[in-house]
């Protein structure tokens, strides 16, 4: 009997080892090894284990480097107010023993779904206490405030305080909810492109260089559509996208074909939750994201749509108006999205389309979630929809303050119900940060 037990134990152990060993080394699906559900930021790439766990050997620097590989530039662009380099000074050794602020995973632990809060933070909310327990000495107004409220009350953010720092609050105090002068960035990059490329000739439908054997009845409509696009205006013909490196015609160009010319947009897109599965930083080849894979609510009929460039931009019409509103609303099915058509923002967008207000006055989904920005004299569109999404204070400068006061923006973004209603009505609460900053300046 004893011998039989040993045999069964040995066989079972070998079988289990074999199965797990095969899964670890050779199998594509390594779901068995996921120790806990990843955060909302990473679940899409949960099976690309080696994107983060780049080596089985080494210490905490392996994960730290993995975090920085994707997020370093964003932190730098946000003027990270708590960068690692501020904590390496030996004078902080005692603090680091309590809270190791040098490693991202100290606060953002992955695979801890049950204790992961907003922003992917796995620490208790009052972590600011460890270094700022004496805050009330310099800021008497903060006396008695709980440390769990620092970041949750619309006042501070650990990394990005570009819209929340004290002098900024003072500078923008006392303005009306709706600014008298609004920022209207309008992109006219075609004109500047043509000025820089005087040899480029605009193309017409007859110029289409689609091979004759590929022409069908449907293609005739497509070439007409193409001839009306910016692509034709700047001399981009059919083969520019449809031919591969060997000059062979591809009926379906590769997913990343747009990146040949729109590199920045592609990079931003692959940094977003829409495109991150296609990022070259992911260690395995993944299919494009679809609504069905997401944790958010979507329309049933949209579940299997691939999230690629052409998901929002029909390649033969390049209609940015569709991409700005309808593309989003055809998939997303949540309260905020569905209330958009009842909002003042949408009414302005309708008026703009009817020519009743100047271009750039309308507020679309893209106006806030893919805001325009100026770079090198050109107006660009941010193609990472998550760039300013969380924490939502990131929207204050990139979106809200183009039209609204800082005070209104802070109050509105702190009001969850107002966000759900898509800003129909006024903020129901007032965040006192500007009042406190102004009061201290006067003192």
């Amino acid at each position: 009997m004893k011998r039989l037990s040993w045999i069964i134990w040995t066989v079972l152990t070998l079988a289990l080892s074999g199965y797990l060993g095969y899964t670890l080394v050779a199998a594509e699906d390594k779901t068995e090894f996921i120790v806990g559900a990843p955060t909302h930021g990473h679940f899409q790439i949960e099976l690309a284990c080696e994107s983060c766990h780049t080596s089985p050997f080494g210490g905490p620097e392996i994960l730290q480097n993995a975090c920085l590989n994707c997020h370093e530039q964003e932190l730098e662009a946000a003027n990270d107010s708590h960068p690692v380099k501020k904590f390496t000074d030996p004078r902080n050794a005692d603090r680091l023993e309590i809270l190791n602020a040098k490693d991202c995973v100290t606060c953002h632990r992955e695979h801890q779904h049950e204790q992961t809060m907003a922003m992917g933070v796995t620490l208790p909310d009052d972590f600011c206490f460890h270094c700022h327990q004496d805050v009330a000495e310099n800021r008497p107004s903060h006396e008695g405030m709980g440390f769990e409220t620092c970041a949750s009350a619309g006042c501070h953010n650990y990394h990005d305080n570009r819209a929340l720092y004290e002098d900024f609050l003072v500078k923008h105090a006392g303005k009306p909810d709706m600014l008298s002068e609004t920022m209207k960035l309008v992109n006219d990059n075609v004109t500047s492109y043509l000025a820089e490329h005087p040899d480029v000739k605009a193309l017409i439908a007859d110029d289409a260089d689609i091979p004759t054997q590929q022409v069908s009845e449907q293609d005739q409509t497509i070439t007409e559509h193409w001839a009306a696009t910016v692509h034709a205006q700047v001399g981009v013909n059919c083969t520019a996208c449809h031919n591969n490196e060997q000059d062979e015609w591809l009926p379906q160009p590769k997913l990343d074909v747009c990146s040949n010319c729109h590199q920045d947009e592609w990079t931003q897109f692959t940094e977003s939750h829409h495109g991150m599965r296609l990022s070259d930083k992911v260690d395995i080849s993944l299919s494009p994201m679809t609504p069905a894979m997401s944790r958010l609510p979507f329309h049933q009929e949209a579940m299997d749509k691939d999230l690629t460039c052409s998901g929002c931009h029909d390649p033969h019409t390049t209609d940015t108006k569709f991409a700005a509103v309808d593309a989003c609303m055809s998939c997303h099915n949540d309260e905020h999205t569905n209330n958009f058509t009842q909002s003042k923002h949408f009414a302005l967008w309708q008026q703009e389309q009817q020519g009743l207000v100047p271009e750039g006055t309308g507020v679309t989904c893209a106006t806030c979630h893919m805001p325009k920005y100026e770079e090198g004299g050109e107006v660009r569109v941010m193609h990472n929809q998550n760039h300013n999404l969380r924490p939502n204070e990131k929207m204050i400068r990139s979106a809200c303050m183009n039209c609204h006061s800082l005070e209104f923006s802070i109050d509105a973004l702190a009001d969850e119900q107002l966000i759900k209603s898509n800003f129909i009505g006024k903020p129901s609460q007032h965040i006192e940060s500007i009042d406190m900053a102004v009061k201290r300046t006067k003192q």
């Binding site: 003027n79 960068p83 690692v84 380099k85 501020k86 390496t88 000074d89 030996p90 004078r91 902080n92 050794a93 005692d94 680091l96 023993e97 270094c131 004496d134 000495e137 310099n138 720092y165 002098d167 900024f168 201290r440 300046t441």
Partner: protein, 192 residues
């Protein structure tokens, strides 16, 4: 020319000292002492900072009046303040090496995080404040690691240093004058 020589000497010392500590931290016979090392580092830091303060910020903001200097230089499209330049340099060093570190601290800091924290910092900043013109050197252990810590007086070299600190709403001291010790440069070198 004197300044150039000093910078060349400082850079050479820095290079050799880094090479020394890079070989297990042991000082070879005839090598330089930690104090020589920190003195040289400080000479370079102090010279660069004075040049930036006078030839860049002072000239462009006061004499030629073509641009302002501002704490929020990105938002204001202005020049970074000399103290900010100094900190950015220190943070960049912190990203590249742990062979030495430095910071700017004060008994009267605008940002309370820059007040002295360790016992040696407290003692040293008080010493340089009470003994103008003198440096302070001491060893201390932080996080289980022994350090040679040198503290050098940081003096208001031009009027704007004093006036800016005096006017700042977060400054605990409002009567600085040119030539006053406003704080100290703390340089640490790990020993052993």
């Amino acid at each position: 020319m004197k300044k150039l020589n000093a910078i060349v000497l400082g850079t050479a010392l820095l290079g050799s000292a880094t090479a020394l500590t890079g070989c297990g931290g042991e000082e070879k016979a005839g090598g330089i002492s930690p104090q020589q090392f920190t003195d040289a580092l400080h000479l370079v830091m102090d010279s660069d900072r004075a040049v930036y303060t006078k030839k860049v910020v002072g000239r462009l903001t006061k004499k030629e009046k073509v641009i302002k200097a501002s704490e929020h230089f990105e938002d204001d499209k202005a020049l970074p303040l000399p103290a900010q330049m100094f900190r950015f340099g220190s943070e960049r060093v912190a990203e590249k090496t742990d062979k030495f570190s430095y910071s700017l601290q004060s008994l009267f800091p605008i940002n309370s995080q820059n007040a002295p924290r360790t016992d040696v910092e407290k003692e040293g900043l008080k010493f340089i404040n009470d003994n103008p013109g003198q440096n302070f050197y001491k060893e201390e252990t932080l996080g289980g690691q022994k350090y040679f810590t040198a503290i050098y007086p940081d003096v208001a070299v031009v009027e704007v240093c004093a006036s800016c600190h005096n006017k700042h709403k977060d400054s605990p001291k409002t009567d600085f004058k040119v030539g006053d010790v406003m704080g100290g440069v703390v340089i640490r070198v790990p020993l052993g």
